[in-house]
Subunit: 298 residues, 2 copies
DNA sequence: TAAAAATACTCCATAGGTATTTTAT
DNA sequence: ATAAAATACCTATGGAGTATTTTTA
């Protein structure tokens, strides 16, 4: 027995006429009659009562028709489900992200993604870059949005955004009135607020290096966990800070942002995934990130 | 796509090895590989991740496997259901019967039938012979157990039992002491108890005719609806009766039964059904009635 | 180098076509 | 006389077989 037999049976059962059924199936009548006979022989059951003039379903045929309809429907459904899985239209995905993207790029990405793939369940996990790399390998997340590059062979790493540092100053700070880019060296005697190296190694090192290259070692007045706290302390007049440009959107009151003259360091934001991950959901996600982040880069 | 593809897919998915799967399917490996590739091409989805050394299911394949298992199972089930329908092993049947068979032949038939076909739902309806013929045509019953023959072309009629009349006498009746068959003429002056012509036309006519043929018209002392009531009245000494032989089992106390000499009339019990009824349940029932009634006939 | 899947080809079984017959209305 | 299914016969697609190659552990 083949699906052919079931489909032919269904059509004949619906038409109750071999000629019409054959026309609907775009085939000749004799082979259709033959196939139905084959089906009946294999089942050992007469599915139709036929006279030369009339065809009707037997009781057995009626029952079989119902079941066959169900089966063919289930099959179509199964194929469609698999195809949608393959197109990344259904499924689930866990995305890790660092705190600093939570206010800018992440909401944009997620909004776009959920709009395009409403049937994929997205789980978001705020983690440090290091934790995300671990999570990728442990498969508790499939996508990482982080700042530190990795040399791991098994992980693909793709930078989605580079942004310069800016200087965050209390509103009443003397430098706040300047409009042109400021040389870093002028901050040599300022008290710095900075995130702890453990919480955000990449940012910490970048700040220290930037200053070092300009010939001074910054005075660290305070270390905090969160970037938002850094800006709060600046707003309170405790000190100044170097923060990624996009952080400007986070806190506008009582803080003034100034560009750095000849800024050589950038904060990078990257997306990472296990190279051999073939999940369509993951790849459509990556593709969408590329598409939705390009306008932001400008 | 054909069932072949689904069955092959299932086997390969279970074995995760084309060679072994091919062996299980009693076919060569290359055509199996080809069929799987065809399936994948038609679906537009890679169901297996293959290296030259290793085969594993893709996510899509895993989902598809579950669905395919369900579908193949449903199909097997559907075929089995239809076959059982065809063998008359499942379904329902409504059986009409006349009151006089309720104490002898009917329980035997039903007991045998339910033992052999426990999954057929049997509905029993006590009706007169005439009512049963009507019910057959209206399809409210499929089988009739009755006593009156019919000349209807569309109804099949098969006698399953013939039995002579016997004389039912009160225990203290003078004739009760005789052991040899009694001539009917000796009842010419006895008071008869008889069922009403409306309730049991066949029996009524038979009694009248028997007596008429012997040269007398019976004195009808009392008409009743039920055969059991007839015997009760005999037991009470109200009169005598002519009853079918099998009625002897119905009431033994205070009633004595005697054979009739040269009895020419028999009570017939027959089974009837609509000739063109092809329902296997009906035909297995008929067949079983023939088989289980033969020993009773002896 | 050994095992497993893929490739290349060959063959024949059978799905499907055409022509015709049978049968019931 | 006509319509519809069955029968008879033919064709050719493609499923399955055998032999061989490729690939990777």
């Amino acid at each position: 027995m083949e699906l052919r037999h079931l489909k032919y049976f269904k059509t004949v059962a619906e038409e109750l006429h071999f000629g019409r059924a054959a026309r609907r199936l775009k085939m000749a009548q004799p082979p259709l009659s033959l196939q139905i006979r084959q089906l009946e022989e294999e089942m050992g059951v007469l599915l139709f009562h036929r006279t030369k003039r009339n065809v009707e379903l037997s009781e057995e045929g009626k029952v079989f028709l119902e079941k066959v309809n169900q089966i063919l429907e289930n099959l179509d459904e199964a194929i469609e489900t698999v195809r949608r899985l393959n197109r990344g239209e259904v499924g689930e995905i866990a995305v890790g992200f660092i705190a600093t993207v939570a206010y800018g790029i992440l909401p944009t990405i997620i909004k776009h993604y959920r709009h395009k793939y409403p049937e994929v369940h997205v789980e978001l996990k705020q983690l440090t870059s290091a934790e995300q790399l671990k999570a990728l390998k442990e498969e508790t997340i499939q996508i990482a949005i982080l700042s530190e590059p990795t040399d791991s062979e098994e992980i693909n790493f793709e930078v989605i955004r580079k942004e310069p540092f800016v200087i965050a100053l209390p509103k009443e700070h003397p430098l706040a009135t300047e409009t042109s880019p400021i040389e870093l060296i002028r901050l040599a005697n300022e008290p710095f607020i900075i995130t702890g190296r453990k919480a955000n190694q990449n940012h910490y090192d970048m700040v220290i290096n930037s200053c070092y290259q300009e010939g001074f070692s910054p005075i660290i007045k305070q270390e905090t966990e969160e970037m938002f706290t850094v800006l709060s302390l600046v707003a309170a007049g405790i000190g100044i800070a170097l923060v990624p440009s996009s952080m400007q959107l986070l806190l506008q009151n009582d803080v003034v942002y100034r560009n750095i003259k000849d800024c050589k360091f950038n904060t990078v934001t990257a997306i990472a995934w296990i190279s051999e991950n073939r999940s369509p959901v993951v790849h459509t996600f990556i593709k969408l990130v590329r598409d939705s982040v390009i306008p932001i880069l400008s």
